[in-house]
Point group: C2
Chain length 355, copies 2
Amino acid sequence: MRTLRVELGERSYPIYIGDGLLGQGLVAEHLAGDRALLVSNETVAPLYADRLGEPDGVAQSVVLPDGERYKSLATCEQVYDALIEGRFDRSATVVALGGGVVGDLAGFCAATFQRGVGYIQVPTTLLAQVDSSVGGKTGVNHPKGKNMIGAFHQPRAVVADTGVLATLPERELSAGLAEVVKYGLIRDPELFDWLEANAEPLRRREPDALAHAVAASCRNKADVVAADEREAGVRALLNLGHTFGHAIETSTGYSAWLHGEAVAAGMCMAARMSVALGWLAPEGLRRIEALLARFGLPTQPPAIPEARFRELMSVDKKSSGGQLRLVLLQGIGDAVVTGAFDPAALTRTLRESAA
Amino acid sequence: MRTLRVELGERSYPIYIGDGLLGQGLVAEHLAGDRALLVSNETVAPLYADRLGEPDGVAQSVVLPDGERYKSLATCEQVYDALIEGRFDRSATVVALGGGVVGDLAGFCAATFQRGVGYIQVPTTLLAQVDSSVGGKTGVNHPKGKNMIGAFHQPRAVVADTGVLATLPERELSAGLAEVVKYGLIRDPELFDWLEANAEPLRRREPDALAHAVAASCRNKADVVAADEREAGVRALLNLGHTFGHAIETSTGYSAWLHGEAVAAGMCMAARMSVALGWLAPEGLRRIEALLARFGLPTQPPAIPEARFRELMSVDKKSSGGQLRLVLLQGIGDAVVTGAFDPAALTRTLRESAA
């Protein structure tokens, strides 16, 4: 088992990473005697919920429907109901067992029940293990926008069992790997090299390779978040590929493309724009596209007219005060957040994509 | 104009108190160029919303139905809708114009829209001016419990215009005064003396008297909150009369009694129990009852059977880990939070009340 510590002063917490961690009592260790409510979904609960019973002291649970469309205030009501009907008080701890939807929603309920109770994450998708484990972002969607309603709320601990990834659908594994590639691209050239050398073991879900990928991703994200907990500055680097990616997701109705797939295509667009600006060598773009393709990820967005793409990008919440800021590459492992770029490079990138 | 500063490190903010502050541009001063959404209700908006227009830079507004039963997640949706339809982003500021319901709900929306945007309070009831101005508590009710869903979110500024209290119904003025008496009882004997000497000017709503009462209350609450922002310790003193009071409110369905009226009767019960314990002199109880009566406030709860009263008290969220803790008096201006009391004193107090 690897243990990382996310350093956030009095809100610091550990991330445990390894094969077969569920049922070893790691959750119970962080309950500190509090009563726990397990929040999971109908896909994950039948597979893994019982492993958190006796050994981890989780006696009550609420099982939600599965899917992004249930990441809503209405579904939160089910969690609040379970907390109140179970007579949980301020010493409650919410344990989230599932992917990003369950984690974000359960975390938001923990952030807001009685103005904040304990929260432990047990992420069961690669994406959730490498992304939601660090950062404290919780929230739900509004009918008119993703993650519009939320709060920052740090977990007490994260238990990332790479063994549960064995049941993850192939596409979801790939979508998680897109975010791992992202950490390599924004600040960790050695991770990128390692991914090129270990793409096959990862696709075969070898426990050691998965644990390395999760640990390296969490370490990178933790370093960024520790420097910028409330997303005022460098944390925006984590959005590489996301402004383009959100436009793809919105355009395709959040159903055809998985988030990680949209981010993969979005990172390729950011890389192409960086090449057009003369900031990134063409060889860098080639390596990025090749690695993502080996992971079974798309490197091109769907055909979206330029004007529509611009419109979808400008409503992305990362735009601030009207100016579009993008995360662009100056090399593999070297990203910048900037609004100071030649607009012709963006135009060229969008037109190529629409073709 | 009096200005108090609530010291909370980087979350410090000013409270402006005085007659005729609306429309002087104090809100605009704290917008710092952000776009503002005014949140008010159908009672207050027609009276005062226009004063926050031009001079204060508030161009858009959402008007909610009036009443505690609208303090719900469903009403929050109206505010989220207005924010999203108005294309507000992370640089939005929510301005709450109204009493406690509007302030708590708008504050919760500000705490959770895009994981937290700016918030300015313009409280229009005495209760909101002396209570919600300080503490950062925001939230809404759940069908099964008051304030079950919420967040801590500090405002950027509070503008407490004592002039708007001119239109406040008599009962609501009295209910606000109950909380002012509370500050005297828990830690400020001079304020209690001053209230005894100035009860009539306050009931006549003389601006100077109101400003003194608001400023003294906010100063007391700010001192307590600064010492205990997250309600781990001394902040519980602010709940004097509230555990008894919540039981009264729940028993009467949150409609017959105003919160401040229930707190007034609850404080008398706490004082009676303190006398029964030998902690408070009978003369102290007499002064408390006399002052509250002069403010037109009840000093006795409605008839509630002892067993029912106990049941209602034990589900109050201030109970922690099963043990009932109460705020009791050792003198006027000297309160303690304790679970270490002779249970016979509580029994006697509850039986007297049920009679």
